[in-house]
Symmetry: C2
Subunit: 280 residues, 2 copies
């Protein structure tokens, strides 16, 4: 009889909790979890997201360990458990930025003698914590794998596992390309949402707003501690994208100030053409 | 027997087409329409959105006339039909900006001897044209009424009619307040979406993006001719909002450049608190 895969989730927040639920619902694995909050562990146990609280023996025998804390706390966890991981298992993290985190985790994995392969499940919501986690969180989403020198066999296992959890595709990339893209696709919308709702008009928007207000402002409901860490760990690519956005907004503003209709039409047309070429 | 309300829609685009469909589906009115495109008229007739193509006799006997062209074309239409409107009916427009348009239409209504009351149905999609119109477009949306001195009875009729069409609420406001709010709630998201997708990263976003990319970029699929006109007709409030947004984005960027985590957390927290206080 094939043995059940042994999964350890470190941190049962939005992403860790969703991974636990998805593993328990869609695979035949033994899922255990660490969390600093006893109430979260209790809830995760009671709904069957984990089968038991994880201990050091679970960590030592885990086929797959998912680090789902904030970036700095993932690194701290690995440092304080350096020799506790399974040398035949795979350790991955789910951090939204990779260059800074992967370099440190890779180095620690060499010291600790285990296999590390970075990843980033491209899913989430504007809510956070275990209570917002869902087994279907990853349905159709991208799973980004950042091997950082991990053996191909480890990459393949993470990829196959991702499909079992419902991900729609797995993409293999470098930490640097990952971070440049994420600055644009994810960090800018979050910075933007906060900058947008800071307008003095925002508190009076009711009745004057519709879908476009709702869409741009949605992720302003941010976890500022986590996102500050993610922004600062990806400072250079994010500054590049912020400067690009500020420059593009300024160009539009200047065309309006100059009442230059042909210029304004040409700028807005650029936006439309990008979307059309992408078939969106 | 109570006579059917006579409705004339001038311009069967996204909003005019949706009004025609909603009137035909949800009210017992005689709906007629003008459009410069014979194919659109034919389609609107064939699906029953209008009962016939509108002519001057319809305009002269209309209880309600909705001007649904672009702002400048609405004004041109009224100028060229100055004495063709029903002196006992109500003429309204659906323009997304009001100060510039209402002043001109109000003046023309006095010359032409008919009642004008401005309005703005707060609904739409990133698509355009009659083919994208829907009877349910206004379900639950806000209907903004900008009376500009119209008699209370006209305001009441437009309000009651809005509820018949499915709107969720009607709000009465001034052109100036309308335009300041719309610059924030609607025009900024559109300018922003275009500025955002102009990033060199955008064409490669696939696989690296999720909900927040989709939400911010959605309305970049813009009708640049209409929106340039709307932006320039609302240049001052829009510049104010663009400057506010650029300033807020720059403050966030500067905190990142300075690696100032407490400052960055405090900026992002502001965003979250605005949303929380609004219960969003």
């Amino acid at each position: 009889m094939k043995q059940k895969k042994r999964i350890v989730i470190v941190g049962l927040g939005l992403i860790g909790g969703s991974l636990a639920r998805a593993f328990s619902e869609y695979t035949d694995s033994l899922v255990t979890g660490f969390d600093s909050d006893p109430a979260v562990l209790e809830e995760a146990l009671s709904i069957g997201a984990i089968q038991k609280e994880a201990d050091l023996a679970d960590l030592k025998s885990a086929d797959l360990t998912y680090l789902c804390l904030y970036p700095g706390s993932d690194i701290e966890f690995v440092k304080s458990h350096l020799h506790a991981f399974n040398p035949d298992g795979i350790v991955t993290d789910v951090c939204g930025i990779k260059t800074a985190v992967c370099a440190k985790l890779k180095e620690l994995s060499q010291l600790g003698g285990f296999t590390y392969c970075g990843s980033h499940p491209m899913a989430g919501t504007e809510k956070h914590g275990f209570s917002a986690s869902q087994a279907d969180m990853f349905r159709g989403a991208s799973y980004l794998i950042v091997p950082c020198g991990a053996p191909q066999s480890a990459v393949e296992i993470l990829k196959e596992t991702a499909y079992e959890l419902g991900f729609g595709r797995a993409i293999i990339t470098t930490p640097e390309h990952h971070d440049a893209m994420i600055a644009f696709t994810s960090q800018i919308p979050h910075a933007l949402a906060c900058a947008y709702v800071m307008s003095p008009c925002c508190p009076q928007h009711r009745g004057f707003s519709a879908g476009s207000y709702r869409d741009v402002s949605r992720v302003a409901n941010i976890n500022e501690v986590l996102w500050s860490e993610l922004f600062l760990d990806n400072a250079e690519p994010l500054q590049t994208e912020l400067n690009t956005l500020i420059r593009n907004l300024s160009t539009i503003r200047d065309a309006i100030a100059a009442k230059d209709q042909p210029k304004l039409e040409s700028l807005l047309r650029q936006g439309r053409l990008v979307k059309e070429e992408l078939g969106e």
